[in-house]
Amino acid sequence: MLHTFVAYVEDKPGVLTRVASLFRRLNINIVSLTVGHSERPGQSRMTIVADAPSNAGGQAGDRIRASMYKLDDVVEVDDIGRSPSVTRELALIKVAATAANRSHIFELVEVFRARIVDLAPDSLMIEITGVESKIEGLIQVLNETEERVLEVCRSGKMTMRRGKHSTGVLRAMGINGPEPPKPEAVQDNFADNI
């Protein structure tokens, strides 16, 4: 089962190793991991998507989160779970294409709201952002046509809860008032995001 965590960590050498080492120790595969500066000085923001084995039980998310809190450099961890959130991934896709068959790719790119960011005599590069399923959809149709996908570079998922300061931690600390009623879980949907 996939779990998505957003973590604020100290921006120091070795922190990535500590976080990654924790997942390794728990024998949990990291599906994707993105790190970058956050709005907080001296703290980085990580989005970690992890595939916890089903035998870890329904509480796997809680346990991973609690274990992450044990790391001294981890400031805050949020388990996004199925809460309303916006998820994006960026991908660069290089496709073999010549002047003869470019126009077909342009059409696909238009449909997927992607962009051409580089054009060479025998190849072109597509930039696409969206949810995982959208990116995989484009790669799939590219593979189904005669154009060859030469390279794919994907950023991994970045996730942010919808609405104002909605992390569970702030609620638990009573900073953000009582827990708001939980809206219907919103499924990531290809059609919504395209």
Binding site: G14, T17, R18, S21, R25, G57, Q59, D62, R63, R65, A66, S67, Y69, K70, L71, D72, D73, E76, V169, A172, M173
Partner: protein, 593 residues
């Protein structure tokens, strides 16, 4: 005119405000500021600047014979005192030799700070002589670690290390300090190096919602059992647990590391649970309708297998570490927080109850399994380890601090030496580290110089760290040593007997004459073969001023009973052989109660 020593001692006293010091001096000044008076260590190239500055500070350095001994001594010191133990080693092999001791402390949540020298920051990562990435190596076995390359970072790192080591769920912290950071100078300001305050987990908020549920479960339960763990000692909650047990008439089973947290002689104490726990404790747990886990983590040696563990019982799990909740056993109510504080909030919700029906049921179920009074057992003159443990308990009146190693003797000690007081049993529970007992006993002696300290080790484990006998002599320590010598790696032999068709591969053990080995160190000793000589030998050791070694040559193929085979259910114990089994005199007969 003052001697150089007096001048130097002055340095430590004269530091009242910000002072210009070398990094090496800052290490010791910070330790003094943290209240450290004893450290266990071994010098070497990359830590030499620190050792050069040591004489200026009022800290006693115990020179060990192997760095593993240093980390176990710091561990034993911490377990006996409740304070943070400190070990020091040089870079490379010095640092890697600490690792077993660090992992031992990690698994048992022991507050410890290890300081290692590191090669100069200019050559870091170049495979310099005696360079090893010790912060990388110890990443999974420390609570946190630091690599310090600048003198101004030393005091904040060490102060943070102490804070992290003792806050929340305690654990070991390593501070790796490069040689150039020790040699360069910086302004030392102890107060300014204060670490950021310890913030309890945001997840600790679970407590509020769970208290009422927990109280309701306790009030409604008919067959409750308290599971008393190491956390009771860590949070100093012995009194609160006792109040809970007495007020609600709840029987108490303890884990191995929980021995002493609840008095063994208390009528509500059932004894030790788990793999080699008493059968009636494990049976009570299996029949219980409520388990109240106090500072314990449902280790696999305690639960057998989660699929069969206490299936009829609701579980209230009180632990300071949220990561322990639902890890091995699913909790119905989780109270995450400091045990003492949680119980102080919980107790006002519990008015008291009559638990006699359940207590009587347990008493009846003890039946023929309840014999522990070895004095009345058939005496063939043979010496059994159980005799040794029982007599040591009787003769020391249960007041000694006992450090045990790992294996059969460890279990016999846990079964037959009754611990009424916290911090009197020092043993490696989680990691099961052979070679732990002797150095841990040395550390405990430094923590409690006025207490009687016994090291009890098997003939196998003792030889792993026997070099520390020299440390005992150099430090003129009064530590008594009992070797339970059966000529085998006994616990492994027992597993081979039970589960590997008695294929005693690589478990028979040829050992030196331990009495002569002690003699070579200037330590007197006695070999004891017969039960009749036991008491006199123990009294001789106790009466001797200074260390004394007793080599108990016990029955060779004795086994620890009862036993839950690994992965089996708690009620599927292998019981003691019946009266028709001739090889074991520790029979269980109801008339011996």
């Amino acid at each position: 005119m003052t001697t150089p020593e007096e001048n130097n001692a002055h340095l430590s006293n004269s530091i009242t405000g910000p002072t210009r010091l070398t990094g090496a001096e800052i290490i010791w000044a910070t330790l003094v500021g943290e209240g450290v008076d004893t450290v266990f260590g071994y010098p070497g190239g990359a830590i030499l600047p620190a050792y050069d500055a040591l004489r200026k500070f009022p800290i006693h350095h115990v020179l060990v014979r192997h760095e593993q001994g240093a980390s176990h001594m710091a561990d034993g010191y911490a377990r006996a005192s409740g304070k943070v133990g400190v070990a020091i080693a040089t870079s490379g092999p010095g640092a890697t030799n600490l690792v077993t001791g660090i992992a031992t402390a990690m698994l048992d949540s022991i507050p410890m700070v290890c300081i290692t020298g590191q090669v100069s920051s200019k050559v870091l990562g170049s495979d310099a002589f005696q360079e090893v990435d010790i912060t990388g190596i110890t990443l999974p076995v420390t609570k946190h670690n630091f690599l310090v390359t600048r003198p101004e970072d030393i005091a904040p790192a060490i102060r943070s290390a102490f804070q992290i080591a003792k806050s929340g769920r305690p654990g070991p912290v390593l501070v790796d300090i490069t040689k150039d950071a020790q040699q360069a100078s910086a302004t030392f300001d102890f107060a300014a190096a204060k670490p950021r305050p310890y913030n309890p987990h945001p997840m600790l908020s679970v407590v509020d919602s769970g208290l009422k549920d927990a109280a309701a479960l306790i009030r409604a339960s008919k067959r409750p059992v308290i599971l008393a763990g190491h956390g009771i000692m860590q949070s100093n909650a012995g009194e609160q647990v006792r109040t809970l047990a007495e007020r609600m008439q709840i029987p108490v089973g303890t884990t191995l590391l929980g021995l002493g947290s609840f008095p063994a002689s208390h009528p509500l104490n059932l004894g030790m649970m788990g793999m080699h726990g008493e059968s009636w404790v494990n049976d009570s747990i299996q029949q219980a309708d409520l388990l109240i886990a106090c500072g314990m983590r449902f280790d696999d040696r305690v639960i057998g297998t989660p699929a069969t563990y206490a299936l009829n019982a609701k579980k209230i799990h009180i632990d300071i570490d949220p990561a322990e909740i639902n890890k091995n056993v699913k909790a119905d109510v989780a109270l995450v927080g400091d045990l003492r504080q949680v119980l102080e909030q919980l107790l006002p919700l519990l008015p008291g109850r009559d638990g006699s029906a359940w207590l009587n049921q347990i008493a009846a179920s003890k039946g023929d399994a309840a014999v522990r009074d070895i004095k009345n057992l058939p005496d063939s003159g043979h010496l059994y380890a159980a005799h040794v443990m029982h007599d040591l308990w009787r003769i020391t009146e249960g007041r000694a601090i006992v450090a045990t190693d790992v294996g059969q003797h460890q279990m016999w000690q846990a079964q037959y030496y009754r611990h009424d007081h916290p911090r009197t049993l020092i043993t490696s529970g989680g990691l099961g580290t052979m070679g732990f007992a002797l150095p841990a006993a040395i550390g405990a002696k430094f923590a409690s110089p006025d207490r009687e300290v016994w090291c009890i080790a098997g003939d196998g484990g003792f030889q792993m760290t026997a070099c520390e006998l020299a440390t005992i002599v150099q430090e003129k320590l009064n530590v008594n040593i009992a070797i339970i010598n059966n000529g085998y790696l006994g616990m492994v032999r027992q597993w081979q007997e039970f589960f590997y068709d008695k294929n005693y591969e690589s478990t028979p053990l040829v050992s030196p004459d331990f009495v002569k080995l002690a003699d070579a160190h200037g330590i007197p000793g006695l070999a004891v073969r017969d039960r009749g000589d036991l008491e006199a030998a123990v009294q001789t050791a106790r009466g001797h001023q200074g260390p004394f070694l007793l080599n108990f040559l016990v029955e060779q193929e004795d086994s620890v009973y009862p036993m839950i085979p690994a992965g089996a259910a708690l009620h599927e114990m292998i019981r003691r052989p019946g009266s028709n089994a001739s090889h074991n005199p520790l029979l269980e007969r109801p008339e011996d109660q």
